[in-house]
Symmetry: C2
Subunit: 315 residues, 2 copies
């Protein structure tokens, strides 16, 4: 009998007393405590966590919805979350979505079914309208800004960041500037385009390529950019991996970096540092850490995490 009443019986006490020693309550006489501890040891007993979670109504577990696991940016966030979760004795369950709305809803249902105390959304496909109702069942924290008061946010101010980057390029004499993004329908793509418009005016379609995730995508993007009607003198990539691909294609075509072409990446990833590519670090680890803190504190604050620019030799 590997349950609490078995232990109680063997120790000659009631289940409540066993429960008390298990939970370090006071008002347990030393001798009974000893007796219980002894039996627990002998029987090699461990309490059933599901029973405890059921009663307590909380699991000390947070779910993290993220589109892709093998993606440096999301990995940084996850890493931040794991750091803080470990510190606070929380578990982290990874919820891969591939931007599939049904999967996202399925994960939110798990919040409702009391499996998680909260959910962190690294990135999403679903509308906020369909997400918000679930905030009744636990904290929902987003790693992207939203004005909805039901949702806590730990985010990077991407619009400002993009603005700064384009402005920097302009200040250095670049007027033909192209850029890549990850998903066409995403918020940050919109912000990128808005920032471009603000600094350079109308965006020629051939200066924007989306669906870039990895090195190869960067390579292909560079190929197209360098054949465009008006060849860009600078490219802003949506990640250092992509930037690396651009760098490689360019150099393979005897295009000199930065003399003929400036490149800026994002997120300060190894590939970028290898190639000496200037990068905008949105501090995604920090974003993840703050996101966890928000669910820990059941807070719905909006926390803006500062970004920083790391200048290297590609601009």
């Amino acid at each position: 009998m590997a349950n609490i009443s078995g232990i109680a019986k063997l120790a000659g006490v009631s289940v409540s007393t066993v429960s008390r020693v298990l939970n370090n309550h006071k008002y347990v006489s030393d001798d009974k405590r000893e007796a219980v501890l002894k039996v627990i040891e002998e029987m090699n007993y461990t309490p059933n966590k599901n029973a405890i979670d059921l009663i307590r109504g909380e699991t000390k577990t947070v779910g993290v919805i993220l589109p892709y696991n093998n993606n440096p940016a999301f990995d940084q966030m996850l890493n931040g979350i794991l750091n803080k979760a470990s510190e606070n004795d929380f578990s982290v369950t990874v919820l891969p979505s591939e931007y599939n709305k049904n999967k996202e809803i399925g994960y939110l249902q798990k919040l409702k079914s009391k499996l998680f105390d909260g959910i962190i959304i690294a990135s999403r496909a679903s509308d906020w309208e369909t997400i918000i109702p679930y905030s009744n069942y636990g904290s929902i924290v987003s790693c992207e800004y939203t004005h909805n008061t039901e949702i806590g946010c730990s985010y990077s101010d991407r619009y400002s960041s993009y603005l700064d980057t384009f402005q920097l390029l302009k200040n250095r004499g670049h007027f033909a500037v192209a850029f890549t993004t990850a998903r066409l329908e995403s918020n940050s793509t919109n912000q990128m385009i808005d920032a471009y418009n603000e600094v350079f005016g109308e965006l020629p379609t051939y200066y924007h390529i989306s669906d870039c995730q990895c090195l190869d995508d960067g390579w292909e993007a560079a190929k197209k950019f360098l054949q465009s009607p008006e060849r860009p003198t600078a490219i802003y990539a949506n990640g250092d991996e992509v930037a690396g691909g651009i760098y490689l294609y360019a150099t393979s075509q005897q295009v000199n970096i930065p003399a003929d072409l400036a490149i800026i990446g994002q997120e300060n990833q190894p590939t970028g540092s290898v190639l000496g590519i200037t990068t905008i670090d949105h501090q995604l680890t920090k974003v993840g850490e703050e996101a966890f803190n928000l669910v820990l504190n059941k807070s719905r604050e909006k926390i803006k995490v500062p970004y920083s620019i790391i200048e290297r030799e590609s601009v």
Copy 2:
């Protein structure tokens, strides 16, 4: 009342009937099923998963013990696990250990406390003797080979792989070969040394540097290797990131790759492909996938995952 008996009452049936429709049992009349479904819909009811897990004694969740999250090799394994877990409607909880034995034991306790159906150990600090007893409480699968019959294994035959690599180097005329490893006390470091001994004989201490994880570590290692009494003509790195650091330091010193120095990395990571570094791919994603299958099937098989060599321009 957001529980099953509330639903039962409102639908005018017993809890068992509600339970039956919830679990798609047959032998429920269509009209009662309709009625129940209607109330569930109206009340926006979702069953409490903790109660279910408690009764069923299983959680459809697997824990993954891995030392570091932000490590390309472990990320590949995790990715494989997540792929298969998603397919099979399992959840994955990440258990970061930093090779801390206490943390590892803590995670195994969670298996015992019925939080997980199984645990996958990507890499470990604890001895098998202390781990094995926990296999009574759920499947434990290792991503490294062990002869213990209690433990399922999905692994890469590293000794063979290292042997092949050193042999390849030797065949190409390299006799002064150095290498890096991650942890001194690890199994794979031992296998690396054994393989070296087999191919080249005794290992000069200055041909082995451990504790290499990232690009910077590779850079520092290269610095030392290139100053060693007998400068190596080839270096085998324990990862493409480290290999990248070696490549960069070498080229920064006007050392020609591969003319003056051959470099081989591992795991086919982006940094390696950027720099054209030959690499040994241990198919870690596949290792993760097979590991998950083992816990799914409660199998204790030993599955050897084949490795492959990807030749590029660094040898």
